[in-house]
């Protein structure tokens, strides 16, 4: 199993502006990758999902990639 990315890099607060990090957790269609694939802890996965959704709202990330 992969280790949690955020605790490995000492990231305590997942920011919606950090698009480069968030992009790592999107699949080619722009969907959020599953908990199984990311290997992120449940707590961080929830924070990650909301961060991605905030970034989408602000037009920093796409909702869908055609």
């Amino acid at each position: 199993m992969r280790q949690d990315y955020f605790s490995a890099n000492n990231i305590k607060f997942i920011d919606y502006k950090d698009v480069e990090i968030l992009k790592k957790f999107l699949n080619p269609n722009g969907k959020i990758m599953s908990h199984k694939k990311t290997g992120v802890t449940s707590k961080n996965q929830r924070a990650l999902a909301s961060a991605i959704k905030h970034a989408r709202f602000m037009g920093l990330l796409p909702f869908v990639v055609k």
Partner: protein, 175 residues
């Protein structure tokens, strides 16, 4: 004199009350926003300054912020202003982080809702610390060269034989 003293006392009271409320009710917020791209580059600092003043006028204390930058939006957004629907593919994205009373933030939101310069904005609760993760640096481990060790070992290993050296020198002189 008495009146002024009384006033001072009053002021002092108000201040302490304010402090206590600020400790109680104020939270750290972050306002991310998209400004319409029809604003000219020259006018950008003005709108940016106005926004900062607006936050300050609601009793906010700015912790950190970033100048709005022109970005390509991931998808086109629509906004209706004065009954005209407009599409935006680019916008100025900026953010400010500040502490504010939890009651005042609602007023700020109402105020921003009416502002025609904003395409969208997002108010989030956050933490005081810088949340943007610093870029990871590549491995800092230095590779030690084994050659250095070998050379030192060789030097120590060679024994100095005085007699042999003397003989060699003598031979050289004789030649």
């Amino acid at each position: 004199m008495q009146i002024s003293e009384q006033n001072k006392e009053k002021d002092g009271l108000i201040e302490t009350v304010n402090e206590s409320t600020s400790e109680k009710g104020s939270k750290v917020y972050e306002l991310g926003y998209l400004l319409i791209s029809s604003i000219k580059e020259e006018d950008l600092p003005v709108t940016y300054g106005n926004l900062k003043e607006l936050v300050l006028s609601f009793g906010g204390e700015i912790i950190s912020d970033e100048m709005p930058k022109l970005i390509n939006l991931a998808y086109s957004m629509q906004k209706v202003t004065s009954n005209v629907r407009k599409k935006w593919a680019t916008a100025y994205f900026g953010w400010t982080k500040f502490t504010m009373d939890s009651e005042k933030i609602v007023e700020l939101k109402k105020h921003l809702d009416l502002d025609p310069n904003f395409i969208r904005f997002l108010i989030l609760k956050t933490v005081k610390e810088n949340t943007i993760a610093a870029k990871r640096f590549v491995r800092g481990e230095t590779y030690k060269r084994p050659i250095m060790k070998k050379s030192t070992e060789n030097e120590t290993a060679v024994p100095i034989n005085k007699e042999e050296i003397d003989k060699e020198i003598d031979a050289l002189i004789a030649a």
